[in-house]
């Protein structure tokens, strides 16, 4: 057990040091989160901020998985550090957990403003545990979505050129920072195919915010994404013996 903890710690530092060495990433994340909160408050008042608190957990987890962790794993493969770890006592679970832990400071940049806003708005914190669990689910689906694309690339590519647009497409356009009720009822089931839209609907439901569809639809969508991306990644991601 002690060895496993050390392995996780080692991988976390090796894969997360870039955040400490380039603290402007954190600063950028924090400023963006605060700026976005101010913008939404002026246009949508407290209701927009309440949605934003939930959205920051979901998009924070989504960004952690889809963008940061998948990029680190992708780069580790390009730099052949992945092979270095495979031919060592490091295991796939310790590698994953270590990489996620190492990237955590970037997740915190959106969680801190979310918590401050929630305190100011005197929001009920009873929903926090399900939201954190959904943020973790969001991170897993995000990571697997990214990896299922990255691991199938034949040509050497700048990985961030794929994960960054993917992040923008899945968070800015669908109803994440705005409610699903703004979308025509006919289109809502189709919109829920987007994993972030479904995760947000589930989170709103847990937070007691009225939602636009039956909770079963986003639940089915989320579970389907989890299964689909797990299968897609499992087919390509190998920890040795490829």
């Amino acid at each position: 057990m002690r060895e496993k903890v050390r392995q996780i710690l080692g991988i976390a530092v090796l894969n997360g040091k870039f955040i400490q060495r380039q603290p402007l990433w954190i600063f950028q994340g924090f400023i963006m989160a605060c700026g976005f909160a101010v913008t939404l408050f002026f246009w949508g008042g407290n209701a927009a901020l309440r949605n934003l608190v939930i959205a920051y957990f979901i998009t924070g987890g989504w960004g952690l998985g889809l963008n940061t962790v998948a990029q680190i794993i992708g780069w580790n493969r390009v730099q052949l550090l992945y092979d270095f770890y495979v031919a060592s006592p490091v295991t796939l679970p310790t590698y994953f957990v270590g990489t996620i832990l190492g990237s955590m400071p970037l997740f915190i940049t959106s969680v801190i403003p979310a918590t401050i806003i929630a305190i100011i708005l005197e929001m009920d914190f009873s929903f926090i545990i399900p939201i954190i669990l959904l943020a973790a689910t969001s991170a897993v689906i995000g990571q697997f979505t990214s990896l299922s694309v990255i691991l199938r690339l034949k040509k050497p590519t700048n990985i961030s050129a794929i994960t960054n647009p993917l992040y923008v497409f899945t968070t800015i356009l669908p109803p994440v920072y705005y409610p699903l009720t703004f979308i025509s009822p006919i289109l809502r089931p189709f919109i829920l195919i987007v994993p972030t839209a479904s995760l947000m609907e589930l989170s709103r439901w847990f937070a007691g915010v009225p939602i636009a569809t039956n909770v079963v639809f986003p639940l089915i969508s989320t579970i389907s994404w989890l299964i689909l991306t797990t299968i897609l990644v499992a087919k390509k991601l190998r920890w040795g013996l490829e």
Partner: protein, 299 residues
């Protein structure tokens, strides 16, 4: 009698329709430095990747430290270390951090990793840059950090895929010295290179490989001794148009002539009107043995 650290029997690996490795058979004894030599695309990296359990073999069998590479891959990984060819480090870390945290990632305690990393920083001559991030290091320094990452594990068996590629002569010599010292301490090393001089200098046993097949495994000294020539002479072609035999290698405007002994050298030189056309006279080496082998001439 020493145990076999590596035993490969008719090992092969296919990438979709192409065989990256066809038929590789060799053994590496514990505590020796084995060098896998061959040109680019010979199958050296594939061999190492199969032995380090990164790739699954398509045919044949192999044992590493007495364990089957497919069945016992988890146990093997705990006792080996591998430096991939062209492996790059995260430039945000300093050499000391890179080595220390990669040791922690293998399960060493912080105190052990600290001691070990400092020791290898010193040994690899990286003390003057140990606290600088990778962004400010030279290519050679980065490569040395990579080699140190593998050696600092002090694993029983270390696989190094072209560890000295891109290093200057002096650094290469320093690295060879460290590798030989590690072998003296009882570590087994399997190293790949396409540099015959490197193989001849540091190998206890050389495994010559070409087009995915092992050609021969022997000590470099025996391979060189098996050559029917002791010398090779590099000359300008213009002066030596008349001769044509299998003892000559054509290099365009230059030729390599082989001579059995010093007398044969004298005889060859006497045929030159202008000795400035004789560019070099060298002792034959592993490279010459290799060239003969790939042309099908067994020693």
């Amino acid at each position: 009698m020493r145990n076999d650290a590596v035993r490969a029997v008719e090992l092969g690996r296919k990438y979709e329709e192409i065989w990256g490795l066809r038929n590789c058979t060799f053994t590496v004894k514990s505590g020796e430095m084995a060098v896998l030599v061959g040109p680019n695309g010979a199958g050296k990296t594939t061999t190492v990747k199969v032995l380090t359990t990164i790739l699954k073999p398509s045919k044949g069998k192999a044992e590493v430290l007495g364990m089957d590479i497919v069945k016992d891959f988890k146990k093997i990984r705990k006792r080996i270390a591998y430096l991939p060819q062209g492996c790059r480090i995260d430039l945000n870390l300093t050499p000391l951090e890179t080595i220390k945290w990669s040791l922690v990632a293998r399960g060493l305690s912080l105190a052990e990793a600290n001691l070990q990393s400092k020791k290898w920083i010193e040994l690899m001559g990286l003390s003057n840059c140990k606290d600088r991030t990778g962004w400010t290091l030279s290519g050679g320094e980065i490569r040395r950090v990579c080699v140190a990452m593998a050696l600092a594990t002090e694993a029983e068996l270390i696989f190094l895929d072209e560890p000295t590629a891109g290093l200057d002569v002096e650094t290469r010599h320093k690295t060879w010295k460290i590798l030989r010292e590690a072998v003296k301490e009882g570590v087994t090393i399997l190293l790949t290179t396409h540099d015959m001089t490197e193989a001849e200098t540091i190998a206890d046993t050389a495994i010559l490989i070409n087009e995915g097949n092992t050609l021969i495994q022997e000590t470099p000294q025996k391979l060189v001794k098996s050559l029917p020539y002791q010398y090779k002479i590099i000359v300008r072609k213009d002066e030596f148009k008349a001769l044509s035999s299998s003892d000559i290698i054509d290099l365009g405007d230059r030729l390599i002539l082989y001579a059995e002994d010093s007398k044969a050298v004298e005889t060859l030189l006497s045929q030159f009107n202008d000795l400035t056309n004789v560019l070099a006279i060298n002792k034959t080496g592993l490279e010459d043995a290799y060239l003969r082998l790939i042309h099908g001439i067994k020693p």
